[in-house]
């Protein structure tokens, strides 16, 4: 027990972020991790960390993911952000998108944004639609490049027109939010959300369904279409859509005094049970305990 404790505790509290990862890796005795004998981090994490330190952008992204989830390595969000930054600086598009998301959530991103924008532009020139999304966000919010909302939205339109459902959804969200230099436009938001849903984005299907039920403009509300989009999202196993659909079927929906969706308690409960069952399965798979359904 003492030996095991010493072995596993060797790297306890180590910092695997980009700044200290080399030192932390050096402290891990190589034979323990290469033979997987009491290595304090998983084999996968060890391999990714070695690659990341060697400058492999894919490995850097992998380390960031493992650190973010605490998968085989101690969870470290700051370290994860650091590795996402390193990968993004080398033009890793998924890492750049994740960085954008983290920035919007208020995270401090220790990365060279000018370098990221330049690297993304190369990917954009190759026609990468996700790179267009990532760069568009940086342009709209003026990070790493001068702020240019028009160019940002043009880039998103280009990606959406090329068939990116995520770009269409991003564009819709810009029109819904108070993005700098982009006047709020529910109609444009609706249009792009519908486009994203038609291109197969499940979250957009849910949002579109929700919009049809509660759009600010009464003329655009249509519970029948709302039901159809919620059903589509529910059928592809979107738990939030299943929950909302359950609510709609439980209460029914009307236009004035006309019934459009009659209440169907059995179908409502069926979707509720499905959502709950999948929620528990997901929680079990991720090793979490859920205190609420």
């Amino acid at each position: 027990m003492l030996v095991a404790g010493m072995l596993s505790g060797a790297a306890c509290g180590e910092d695997y972020g980009p700044v200290n990862a080399a030192r932390a890796l050096h402290q891990l005795s190589g034979w323990r991790c290469s033979l997987n004998l009491g290595c304090p981090i998983s084999k996968d994490a060890y391999g990714a960390l070695t690659g990341a330190l060697a400058g492999d952008r894919e490995a850097q992204y992998r380390v960031a993911r493992l650190l973010q989830r605490g998968d085989g390595i101690r969870r470290d969000e700051r370290g994860a952000t650091g590795w996402y930054g390193k990968a993004a600086e080398q033009g890793h598009v998924a890492a750049a998108l994740e960085l954008n998301r983290l920035r919007h959530e208020g995270a401090d991103v220790p990365a060279d944004e000018i370098k990221i924008a330049a690297a993304l532009r190369l990917e954009v020139d190759k026609g990468d639609r996700d790179a267009m999304r990532a760069l568009a966000d940086m342009e709209v919010y003026g990070r790493g490049v001068p702020r240019d909302a028009e160019q940002g939205t043009a880039l998103l339109r280009r990606a959406a027109t090329a068939g990116s459902p995520a770009a269409a959804k991003d564009l819709s969200n810009l029109f819904l939010r108070d993005a700098p230099g982009i006047p709020r436009s529910p109609a444009e938001a609706f249009r792009w959300m519908a486009e994203s849903a038609r291109l197969g984005n499940a979250a957009a299907m849910l949002n579109l369904g929700s919009m049809y039920f509660s759009f600010p403009s009464v003329a655009m509300r249509d519970p029948a279409e709302g039901y159809r989009w919620l059903m589509r999202a529910a059928l592809i196993d979107n738990p939030a859509a299943q929950e909302m659909l359950s609510g709609v079927l439980s209460q029914g929906a009307m236009v004035g005094a006309r019934t459009v969706i009659p209440p169907d308690p059995i179908a409502a409960d069926m979707w509720f049970v499905s959502r709950r069952a999948r929620h528990f399965t997901t929680m079990r798979a991720s090793g979490c305990k859920s205190s609420r359904t």
Binding site: Q251, A253, T259, V260
Partner: protein, 243 residues
């Protein structure tokens, strides 16, 4: 829901499996059949009153039955039944409010409404008749019937209810919230050219504005469902769950 229904829902959920995006996009999704199904609860019916109606089961007493809003007489008898239930429980105030809603549901005395002269004469000859009723010009629309029934039905509130009390709510639990449904005491906006007898002083304008005011005050929708299309968006912004 019955145990059989719950079991069926569970079985359906167990048998269900997700589809692919391509399959779903290619699907034509039919709406659930409306004919023969129970219509949705009017959005204006809320709170404990809604729970009571829901819990009343398949064969509820008349006063706990949602009427067919397309049939004027069904709405009237439903409102009358609720009013009688209030009277039976000694709640004259709520009974009066319910009977007042009848004025907005009854067909007009004369199609197209009475002229001013006819109206004045009619009210003189029938002092017991509410001027609201006498002034009606056309039959209530579906929405109006639903609205005025809900104003009456919302007065029903159940306090602590056990399973045994679900169908027939005993006397002490049958209460009307005076806070939510206030009666106008005096007519203020009655047209000056019509003299009022003591029995018909409640002006339609006053009654209507007060009733609708209280309804608006109590208005709230269950999240994400049964939102009537004429409902104002609370924040003027869309609440998107998937973002």
């Amino acid at each position: 829901m019955t145990a059989v229904q719950l079991a069926e829902a569970k079985d359906r959920a167990a048998a269900w499996g997700p589809s692919s995006v391509d399959e779903v996009l290619a699907m034509t999704i039919p709406l659930p059949a409306v004919a023969g199904t129970k219509p949705p609860w009017p959005p204006e019916l809320h709170g404990r009153a809604l729970d009571l109606f829901k819990e009343a089961g398949e064969n509820p007493p008349l006063w706990l039955r949602m009427p067919d809003f397309e049939r004027n007489e069904a709405v009237m008898s439903a409102i009358t039944a609720i009013a009688e239930q209030f009277e039976g429980s000694g709640n004259k105030h709520c009974a009066e409010i319910c009977r007042q809603q009848l004025d907005y549901v009854v067909p007009p005395i004369k199609p197209g409404g009475l002229s001013t002269v006819e109206l004045a004469r009619y009210l003189r000859e029938h002092p017991e008749v509410s001027p609201v009723r006498a002034m009606r010009k056309e039959a209530a629309t579906l929405e109006e019937s639903m609205h005025f029934w809900a104003l009456c039905a919302n007065g029903i509130e159940g306090a602590a209810r056990s399973a045994a009390q679900r169908i027939l709510i005993a006397h002490p639990y049958f209460v009307c919230s005076g806070r939510r449904m206030k009666m106008p005491l005096k007519a203020a906006l009655w047209p000056p050219h019509i003299r009022l007898s003591s029995a018909n002083r409640n002006s339609p304008a006053k009654v209507r504005s007060t009733s609708q005011g209280s309804a608006a005050k109590c208005k709230r929708w269950p999240e994400g469902a049964a939102v009537p299309l004429n409902a104002p968006s609370s924040a003027g912004m869309i609440d998107l769950p998937g973002q």
